[in-house]
């Protein structure tokens, strides 16, 4: 129920935004995130943007994971790893 997907705002018209992912556009309400601006990434849940994602924090998290990757490079034969998914990240269907 609480799944929300990060989407990119490509247009704003009053309380509505056009958000896109992988070339697919949809319209979501900005009633819960009036601070959202063009170019922001928002978490979308049940037709509403519920949070504006913090790009700086997103970069910091990615950097943290990259650091882990460098500290523990992949070795041949490693087995106990969660299988990476073929789905685009965050593509799980919101309900």
């Amino acid at each position: 129920m609480c799944l929300a997907i990060p989407l990119h705002i490509t247009a704003i018209d009053g309380e509505w935004a056009t958000v896109t992912r992988g070339g697919v556009a949809r319209r979501v309400s900005l009633v819960l995130t009036p601070e959202a601006r063009m170019g922001d990434h928002v978490l979308v849940h049940a037709g509403f943007a519920i949070a504006v994602l913090d790009e700086e924090e997103a970069r910091a998290t990615l950097a943290l994971f990259a650091e882990l990757e460098n500290a523990h490079p992949r070795r041949a034969g490693d087995a106990d790893t969660p299988a990476p998914s073929n789905d685009p990240p965050g593509a799980d269907r919101p309900q």
Binding site: H8, D54, P82
Partner: protein, 369 residues
């Protein structure tokens, strides 16, 4: 793109190793018992095999964070009764239609002629009301703090538009009181994985009672496998260091104070009261009912709903979903799991909902527990 989250194997392996080493370095051999509150987390944990990868040092327990699962038998019966009222359209989020009430499900009611429609958003239900002025459209308001503001927004719009044929049966629930009820019920937990999207609304301070009152740390997590592993790593670090606190391990989506606009909307539209949870019973301050000025849009006030169950409850059918929702048992410990109860023929809601713990364990192969 920075807003996309990696699922790289290297960092995952590093984190799994670090978590297990940290946990096994503790005095004592008991596994650390961590509860993931959120059903979305349960789904991700099972899908990516994190539960098995972290065992035996870490025992991950599912919590009550599946809104469909915690909806009580009597509330499902009430929804079915509403669908049976001539002239009504019942609009609901997907999974709820398959959950058995004590006599039937919304899906069965629909097969018998009731107008039950699955919607993606409460705004879709409001649109149905605008286009069908002669029908009474009832939105089944299920969901936690993540979803309740979206339904509140639809209620506020309906009131402003005088769209009086639109109402909501509010089964919304607040999550911190449920977590408190589980701990007051005697659950032995070493740490809590906090629900990321609930907390995007409430802010992480909503979980401060966990360290303050119960001495248990909480790490708020995102939904990618690395987000979860990072949160678990932080949680285990706090447990080992005996410094219980709330860690925000999902800072790109969560702040200390949350979404003030959404919280203010919730306060304008709903008042807090008790709510009936499957597995937890009546939990004070965990429910959200429309305020009196929304009476015309409140399905409980508009329609005569049954107060008691009509037939055999899930518990009476042998379902232990309630125990699963409290973290008292793992799904495989239910005698019905995988035999009498499967996703194709579910006995209880934990096997129905895509984020129910039983469905996740069944689907991703945790059948042996």
């Amino acid at each position: 793109m920075t807003m996309e989250h990696p699922r790289a194997a290297g960092p995952a392996r590093a984190l799994i190793g670090a978590i297990r080493r940290r946990a096994s370095a503790r005095a004592g051999r008991e596994p650390l018992r961590l509860m993931e509150f959120c059903g979305g987390h349960t789904h991700a944990i099972m899908r990516y095999g994190l539960r098995e990868a972290l065992a035996p040092e870490i025992h991950l327990l599912s919590g009550p964070g599946c809104p469909v699962c915690v909806t009580s038998d009597s509330d499902i019966d009430a929804a079915i009764a509403l669908a049976s009222v001539p002239g009504t359209v019942v609009a609901t989020f997907g999974d709820l239609v398959r959950v058995p009430g004590t006599r039937s499900s919304l899906q069965e009611a629909r097969a018998a002629g009731a107008d039950v429609r699955i919607v993606y958003s409460a705004l879709d239900a409001l649109e149905i009301a605008r286009r069908s002025p002669n029908r009474a459209v009832v939105m089944l308001g299920i969901g936690f703090e993540t979803t309740a503001p979206t339904v509140a927004a639809a209620l506020e719009m309906a009131r402003a538009e005088k769209q009086t044929n639109f109402s909501v049966l509010s089964l919304h629930k607040r999550t911190p009181p449920a977590m408190r009820a589980i701990l007051n019920g005697g659950a032995r937990l070493d740490g809590i994985i906090g629900p990321g999207h609930v907390t995007a609304i409430t802010g992480w301070r909503a979980w401060e009672f966990l360290p303050v009152e119960f001495g248990i740390p909480c790490a708020v997590a995102g939904f990618e496998p690395l987000d979860l592993l990072h949160a678990i790593d932080q949680l285990v670090a706090a447990i080992v260091a005996r410094t219980p606190r709330v860690v925000n391990a999902y800072p790109r989506g969560v702040t200390a104070e949350g979404n003030a606009t959404a919280e203010a909307l919730l306060v304008r539209v709903f008042e807090v009261g008790h709510a009936d949870w499957r597995g937890l019973g009546n939990v004070p301050e965990s429910g959200l009912s429309p305020r009196p000025k929304y009476a015309v849009h409140d399905a409980r006030r508009r329609f005569a709903l049954p107060a008691t169950v009509a037939g055999k409850t899930a518990v009476a059918r042998g379902c232990r979903c309630g125990d699963v929702l409290r973290g008292a048992i793992d799904p495989a410990e239910c005698p019905l799991f995988g035999g009498a109860c499967t996703p194709g023929r579910p006995v209880g809601p934990c096997m129905v909902s895509s984020e129910g713990a039983c469905a996740a364990h069944y689907r991703y192969g945790g059948r042996a527990g």
